[in-house]
């Protein structure tokens, strides 16, 4: 027993680290303060500060004649959002974001369910790789790859032709709004690529939520007479809902703000992100760009407020 000593209180460890250890032990608040100050400065000043600056900009207006910003409080910029051409952009973006979010949730749920309930060991690793791998490659590369896949001369058209299903594609493209002369320049194409690119952000939170649902709750529901559909509706879905909401926050807000995907794949009609890009860049209308940027923030705020009222976070 060479490490045994006669003292019941050990001497303080030497050096700065010994002193600091004692200090932090006595006053844990100091350590917390030290750890939180840098991120809080970042979040509080740089991030929230710029957000407030942005918000302020949206209450200014641009002088149509000189093109200079008029630094007086006005709601006229917001009024501009409501003119049909601008309001169409908002509507188009919101509808797209809603569709992408719903479709992502429907596609992601079974994948997440499989990963949470059945995948073990090697299959779990393959699942994580499969979901995360697309995130490792550049977002632009993926979008251009999809452009090639969806183009009229692309692999999808070729594949459908081989299956003698080209008529199906043509029928779809002949539809108003969602159609177009090829998938790569239609809303359908934009929709497909949005879903592809945001899918990991939907799968992972749902999988995390489902992983926390004990298997015996599903057995208990069946035991009490709930068939699989009822078990899904009354047990699995409510318990996975916080995960679905978390995932939908990603897919919804990312779609609301993205300006690259609709520019490369889709019709030439603008989405909010493109409008912001165009207004603050070529048009030089910073106030209108700022007003456009406020729209997704307001929509997300409303969405979360409604989700909370519906009890989506009760299972947290």
């Amino acid at each position: 027993m060479s490490i045994a000593t006669d003292t019941s209180i050990l001497a303080r460890r030497g050096g700065l680290s010994g002193r600091l250890s004692d200090l932090f032990w006595r006053k844990p608040g100091i350590l917390l303060l030290l750890m939180l100050t840098p991120p809080l400065l970042w979040l509080g000043i740089i991030y929230l500060g710029s957000l407030i600056a942005l918000l302020l900009q949206s209450f200014f207006s641009i002088d149509d004649f000189s093109g200079l910003i008029n630094f007086e409080f006005t709601l006229s910029t917001y009024r501009q959002l409501l003119i049909p051409s601008n309001f169409d952009i908002i509507l188009r973006t919101v509808v797209m974001a809603v569709m992408v979010t719903l479709a992502s949730a429907v596609i992601a749920f079974p994948i997440a369910y499989y990963a949470a309930r059945y995948a073990r060991g090697k299959w779990k690793v393959i699942f994580y790789l499969g979901v995360m791998l697309p995130l490792w490659s550049s977002y632009l590369v993926k979008i251009y790859a999809w452009k090639l896949i969806l183009a009229k001369e692309g692999i999808l058209t070729w594949f459908l032709a081989k299956l003698h299903l080209l008529w199906l594609l043509d029928a779809w493209l002949a539809l108003p709004v969602v159609g177009g002369s090829s998938l790569s320049i239609s809303y359908t194409g934009t929709f497909i690529v949005f879903i592809y690119v945001w899918m990991p952000f939907m799968i992972l939170p749902i999988q995390a939520a489902l992983e926390r649902v004990p298997g015996n709750l599903i057995e208990a529901s069946a035991d009490l007479g709930g068939n699989p559909a009822q078990t899904f509706r009354f047990v699995l879905f409510p318990l996975a809902l916080p995960g679905i909401i978390a995932g939908s926050i990603f897919t919804f807000s990312l779609t609301l703000g993205d300006y690259i995907i609709p520019q490369i794949i889709g019709s030439s009609r603008l989405f909010i992100g493109q409008a912001v890009y165009a207004q603050q860049g070529t048009a030089g209308n910073i106030p209108l760009a700022a007003a456009f940027s406020v729209v997704p923030i307001v929509i997300m705020g409303l969405y979360l407020w409604m989700a909370k009222r519906q009890g989506a976070f009760d299972a947290l």
Partner: protein
């Protein structure tokens, strides 16, 4: 009528024979315990009755109807889960009413039935709380109410008292027994606690390695264990080696002898043997004496009123010949 019937039922998981050719007939209204160490197959048997597992081979009947291939939600059998499995996102009342809700019972009616079930398990007025706000014992009662509100023909209980402290466990044992008597429902109870099985059950099946080692009343299982495993597992019986049993004049067999059947000193018609005291423990109501008799370790339970021999002393012990129970080699 037979409530649950197993005919040559097996459930294999790969190479593991969790349940291996089990025959079982549980009578209607019986309080039936399945006792065994973990991994002995008792819980798998319960899951086969509930429908969470399907047999690899064999035939299962519940009240005369074939049960294999029938999903859990079509069986009029309910389970009280080991860790209760209450739905965390529902209130206590909604938890209890769940079974009636999925069966389409009208809201007012099912909530009334759930209130009554909560009153039956002595938790009236707890309906608005969430499972997370209740203690372990209260959750256990809710799980019981949630199962019983469906009026199942068989109630399955998977180590329902395992997570409770001793005092609560004893109280719940009495309440469960009383509840079973008053409702007349068949209870099938899985436990690894032999005391629990002995005190509550009408009949006990002792499991080991996926097989039933012995099936009988608590008294039979306790006093006349069929195998060495049962003697060992059910209580603290002495399992005597064949060599020692032979010297006592019972033939060359393994034998079981209850510690409380052994007394200090000899007597008329009693079988005697001598041994050296290796340990003496005071247990409150009794003293437990351990002796080494010709290499066999024998424990004797002596009344606390008798003076205990000192360690190393050689003592004479005796028992009534009919208390020694010989067993097959198993």
């Amino acid at each position: 009528m037979t409530a649950v019937l197993f005919q040559q039922v097996s459930r294999h998981f790969g190479a593991v024979r969790a349940v291996d050719s089990v025959d079982l007939a549980i009578a209607e209204g019986e309080f039936f315990a399945m006792l065994g160490p973990s991994g002995s197959g008792k819980t798998t048997c319960l899951r086969l009755m509930a429908g969470f597992e399907q047999p690899t081979a064999g035939h299962i009947e519940i009240f005369g109807e074939t049960a294999e291939g029938v999903p859990p939600y079509r069986r009029n059998v309910n389970t009280v889960f080991q860790d209760y499995a209450l739905f965390p996102h529902l209130s206590i009342l909604e938890n209890v009413a769940y079974g009636l809700m999925v069966k389409g019972v009208a809201k007012a009616e099912r909530l009334k039935a759930a209130e009554e079930a909560l009153a039956m398990v002595k938790l009236p007025g707890y309906g608005t709380r969430r499972p997370g706000q209740l203690s372990g014992g209260q959750r256990q009662r809710v799980a019981l109410a949630r199962a019983l509100v469906n009026r199942p023909r068989v109630l399955l209980l998977d180590e329902p008292l395992g997570a409770l402290d001793l005092k609560l466990r004893e109280q719940m044992q009495e309440e469960l027994k009383a509840l079973q008597k008053s409702l007349g429902i068949t209870f099938v109870f899985v436990t690894h606690d032999q005391g629990e099985a002995l005190s509550m059950a009408d009949r006990i099946a002792v499991f080991n390695d996926g097989r039933i080692q012995q099936l009988g009343t608590p008294e039979e299982v306790y006093k006349r264990p069929a195998t060495r495993f049962v003697a060992d597992f059910v209580g603290s019986s002495n399992v005597l080696p064949p060599e020692f049993v032979e010297t006592l004049g019972f033939g060359r067999h393994h034998a079981s002898l209850r510690p409380e059947a052994i007394a200090l000193g000899g007597g008329d018609g009693r079988t005697q043997f001598t041994g050296r005291v290796t340990a003496a423990n005071f247990l409150g109501a009794a003293n437990r004496l351990t002796v080494d008799a010709n290499g066999a370790r024998v424990a004797a339970m002596l009344p606390a009123s008798i003076a205990v021999p000192a360690q190393g002393e050689t003592v004479t012990l005796s028992f009534q010949p009919e208390d020694l129970h010989t067993m097959d080699g198993a």
